[in-house]
């Protein structure tokens, strides 16, 4: 990761935190809710299942529960927010000259290993986010901002587990 291409530096993290906090406040002020991410994945899956396998969609409990509490899977706050994230991330990367296809990992492992573990990590996270009713953005960050007990509990569980398993996963990163 040398600076041959004069890549722009990342923002100061404290400033970044304040900005993120302001985005969060704005979200609450406008919509009465904080940020989130995993819910959007859920919405897409639900919409997908509804299109591909409507009979199963009607019968299986998970989808019918969702259907009863939401009007349309894709007309969801989180899905639109996530689309915004794609644009925002892209803009930031473009401005900073960080747009590039690459696989990020520790130099000690192969790309293939990294991709495999990325998928595995995603599966775990996807499952866990549904079980925990939120991910780090929705439950931990937003939850902490409103002082919700659930937010703190989930955050402690995520970070605690990650710390505990860090030793075993160290080859992936360092």
């Amino acid at each position: 990761m040398s600076d041959k291409n004069q890549k722009k530096k990342y923002m100061n993290p404290y400033l970044g935190g304040v900005l993120l906090g302001l985005v969060l406040i704005f979200a609450f002020w406008v919509s009465g809710r904080g940020l989130g991410a995993s819910g959007a994945i859920k919405s897409v899956i639900v919409a997908g299942v509804e299109t591909v396998a409507p009979a199963h969609y009607e019968s299986a409990k998970f989808y019918s529960e969702y259907k009863n509490s939401h009007e349309s899977p894709l007309k969801s706050w989180l899905v639109l927010e996530m689309l915004g994230v794609v644009i925002g991330g892209f803009l930031s990367g473009a401005i900073a000259g960080r747009l590039k296809f690459k696989v990020e990992k520790s130099p000690k492992i192969t790309n293939r290993t990294r991709i495999i573990f990325a998928v595995i990590g995603g599966i775990f996270f996807g499952f866990g986010s549904q079980l925990g009713r939120g991910c780090t953005s929705g439950s931990a960050l937003t939850g902490m901002a409103v002082l919700s007990l659930g937010g703190f509990v989930t955050m402690a569980a995520i970070f605690g587990t990650a710390f505990a398993l860090a030793y075993f996963a160290r080859r992936l990163w360092i």
Partner: protein, 207 residues
């Protein structure tokens, strides 16, 4: 190093302030005494028995009758679909969602108008909307709806129409009322379901 110090220097004092200041839990909009007096003078809080009867007969879902008498009196007789909130309990937190909402039309009633009016004044002073008083209370209700006076033959059509309406309403309600009298269970059973749908619009969320 510096940003951290700036951050600390800003947030620690702000944190101290926010920790020291008592929590702001009052509802933002409360009426002043003058505003309340204006409303009392204009009498906008009253709903006539005819109006209420019409809504009951039409099964208008936005109507919510609230009986502010004691539980005993409520059990002996109550209007169809009414919820019992005895006046002394009106500020209990369990009823807050019922009396503080923007969706339904709450109509307080008692035997006369005194108690219902008091309930209205208390809730209105808190800034709650959509609360009304049944004009004349159950006494007037009995006179007009339950035992309407037959107008003279020469009365204007309006009067006769009103009488016919009241007769019909009385019969329709009479049937409902008997059911309420014989077993207060249906009335009570309806109450919990009703309370649920009155939820003030809350923010949706979840990740």
């Amino acid at each position: 190093m510096k940003p951290r110090l700036i951050l600390a220097a800003t947030l620690v004092p702000l944190g101290l302030i926010i920790a020291a200041v008592p929590e702001n839990t009052t509802k933002p909009y409360k009426l002043t005494a003058e505003e309340l007096l204006e409303e009392v003078k204009s009498g906008t809080q009253f709903m006539q028995p005819d109006e209420v009867a019409a809504m009951i007969v039409a099964k208008d879902p936005s109507l919510q009758l609230i009986d502010v008498r004691s539980a005993d009196e409520f059990e002996k007789f109550s209007l169809p679909g009414a919820v019992n909130i005895p006046l002394p309990d009106i500020l209990n937190s369990e009823w807050e969602e019922t009396i503080n909402q923007d969706v339904r039309l709450n109509v307080f009633y008692s035997n006369g108008t005194n108690d219902a009016n008091q309930a209205w004044m208390i809730t209105r002073q808190l800034g709650y909307r959509n609360n009304y008083v049944l004009s004349g209370g159950l006494n007037y209700w009995a006179e007009t709806i339950m035992n309407p006076q037959q107008p003279a033959e020469t009365s204007p059509n309006e009067e006769i129409a009103k009488y016919n309406f009241r007769q019909g309403a009385g019969q329709a309600l009479g049937g409902g009322m008997e059911a309420a009298q014989s077993s207060s269970m249906p009335a009570k059973g309806a109450a919990p379901a009703v309370v649920k749908t009155q939820k003030k619009k809350k923010a949706q969320g979840g990740c």
